[in-house]
Amino acid sequence: MAKITIDGKPMEVPDGTNVLEAALSNNVPLEHFCYQRYLPVAGNCRTCMVEIEGPKGPMLTVGCNTKVAEGMVIHTLSPKAKAAQKTALEFLLLDHPLDCPVCDKAGECKLQNQYMEYGLYDFRRGVPRYFKGGKAEDIGEHIMLDQERCVLCSRCIRFVDEVPKTSELGIVNRGHESTITIFPGKRLDNAYSGNVTDICPVGALTLKEFRFKQRVWFLKKTESVCPGCARGCNITVEQNKGHIYRFMPRDNSQLNKTWICDEGRFSFNHWQENRVSEVRLGHATHPLQEGIAELAKLLEGISPDEVAGIASPAAALEDNYLFKKLFEKRFKVKNLAAPFWGKKGEEDKILKLADKTPNTQGLKLLGIDTEGKDLLEQIEKGQFKVVIVMHNNPFGQDEERAKKVYGKVKALVVLSVHKTKMAEQGSMLFPLRPFTEKNGTFVNATSRLQRFRQAVEPENPDVVEASLWVCRLAKALKLEGFEFQDTPSIFNAMAKEVEQLKGLTFNSIPGTGKVLDLPPMAEEPFQGIRCQPNVLGTAKSEKV
């Protein structure tokens, strides 16, 4: 640790931290464009200018490329530092188009925010604007490039060089004619391309999926976790009036940094489309209350041995916990399993994992069988009268086999988010809430327990989350121990029972997650990728 002083305030920061990071992590605002905490320092925007006291008096320098030293005295507010910051901003805005009213970045644009805060207000260019040209160029499957808005911070270039290592972008020409462009014959469609739009400090790189869709100040942001694979990247779900407009990566220095893959990023529509929205018994729709009563009646008429349950690695920890508890108390827990149904995905050394479900480790934590071979064979042999499938499709893509199997079952109860083939086959179908519409927790591949919060409330109150559905069914079956009203209380009850969760409550899970005592099933992310050393933990309020 090094003792330093910033603007008269003494503070301690780890050795090797740069001055900019030291300032930001101690709530000293210092503007910056080119610095991104997980990318190599470029030092080209010259806005994070500070004065550092030295033997020859205060020296003006950039904060991002200066490592702290014991006893360093730093001024961010001295007249010289302030002037340097202001004039750098003036230079940046000199020929920047003032098309903020039609720019998607407005509201979260670094140039806009910082110029409002630090800028010079009297316009004095004195010469006609220099037009750079290059408007709305289609450079990739998801990305549009507006060269005239670019401030040449080179963040996007450093990102494609360092993280996906695909190097599609570069700067051509010299001086003020410099422009960011894509190499001839190349397209920016690597698996992580969307990240360049997040780190672009201005509106030069925008997402086709978000362009002209929504002003950012209308968006409500909810902390969440991407369920696209077992990595569990931290995201924010951004919605307005119940419609989700985008998923954005959320800074977690211990996991996904500020990056997510395109597959996860663009899955936001998947969770809003093709949804099961009503309870269906046979061919008729019913209120939830009737559906539950009907199911309870059916279950009361048969032996507990004749009910099989399929839990899910895609469902939250709480859903699986209560589902298992239902089988423990009313049926036979050996007749419960959670096999993975889908195809394995692509895996890379960056973030993506082959396991396309978010909670396989959670099932292991709860002691639920993730293979379920015996159970599926028994179902196939017709040993069960009722099969309850929660957010799963145990026979996967093999439709012929599924049809044959489910023909032997008296009742196939399906709890589903989407109108899938599985949902069509169900004799009783209950709608489920996806992760965007509920609170919950997942345990990722590296055994990190992570919390996600509800972003959207479904229109139909009959769409409930699986755990509360279990509570309602338990009530209809007159079982005790299922008197829960919300997910946090289910988690808190579970934490008392599960050894690794002891001492945790839903609200005390850190924003960056908590690593559980559970053998990991995958390597840490970013194998062989340079990330900024000595990052001081995750930023609280600062945007990426």
């Binding site: 080209n44 950039v62 002037a83 230079f91 220099y130 003020h176």
Partner: protein, 428 residues
Amino acid sequence: MADFQPQLTKRFGIKNSHTLNVYLETGGYSSLKNLFAKKPAEVIEEVKASGLKGRGGAGFPAGMKWSFVPQNTGKPIYLVVNADEGEPGTFTDRFMMLYDPHLLIEGIICASYAINCHTAYVYVRGEFLEQINRLNAAIEEAKKANYLGKNIQGSGFDLEIYVHRGAGAYICGEETGLIESLEGKKGQPRIKPPFPAVVGAFGCPTIVNNVKTLSSVPWIIEHGAAAYTAIGTKESAGTHVFGLSGHVHQTGYWEMPFGLPMMEFIENYGKGVKGGKLKAVIPGGSSCPILTAQECQDLTLTYESMRDHKTMFGTGCAIIMNEHTDMAMVLKNLTHFYADESCGQCTPCREGTAWEDRLLKKIVTREATAKDLDLMLEIANNMEGKTICVFSSALAMPVRSFIQKFREDFEKYLVKNTVVVPEKITAN
């Protein structure tokens, strides 16, 4: 100056001075005996004691620079010769390479031995085709005669020299921009720290020296630091090749010890100012602040005198201007050059150089007011010392000195603050 022995240009004018035979006949490679008798650290100390300063422009002590090279990294150490002579008004390195390439090679051997380097690169400006050919031929000759290659002259010291041809960007004369270009990247200066002496070419410790700096080293090794400090002044030891261009009767370059008064230089060597009285002097290449005739009266050709006059020694090649010179047009030429050559990396330089250029064009087309002139000064202040390299300062300093010292030359272009009635209306 009669008793002075030329060190750098003594073979100039001799027929075939660029060949090894002539070089050896005239005492070439004679420093090597002394060199290999010393330990590398002793060579560095000798050069430190000589007070030899870098001749590229910044004037950093050469021996000091060499002593920054860490010897324990386990990585190779490189020497890179900066032969990317591109400073406007400067034209001496090209003749050094043309007429005496072996002297440069000898200097490279001395410096390489001192810093324990076995691979040296000469980064030559792309336009110097003839020089590149002569350098390559000289390297071949030197290799055959075992002045380069393995076990040089039985000393056990190995050295290879490679000539790299640049592509003609001014910024590649900045040492880190040069290293980037040498590595095959876009020539953009690197952010420091780390400095090239620690992390330079290909991530290894690297020393970048100018052609004349290295060409001065063999004489120091042969005759000793004391003999070198006896020449010139206390702070500016040794000799230098000074150049003169612009409004003088005789332009050219001359080797002489430091310390000659500027006015004597103009009168005796340049044969006086052509076309009128002296108005201004840019003392050491276009990026040095300009001096008025008045300021030149007590100016001497030394690092310290230039510093006292709030300008820089630079490359030692002065540009002379007579009383009829329009300073606004001179500066317009310069701003255009710098706006065009800015690498575009740092915001203040990328935007500032072009802004200055656009404002000055507005002034000379008689569309500007006094406000624009003051704005130019303020932009210069905002650019200076705020970027990765000194390029933005290299424009800021001339802009400020030109406008402050010759404001009337700019003011005559300004629109008067009275209301100008368009001709059409008065005709009606």
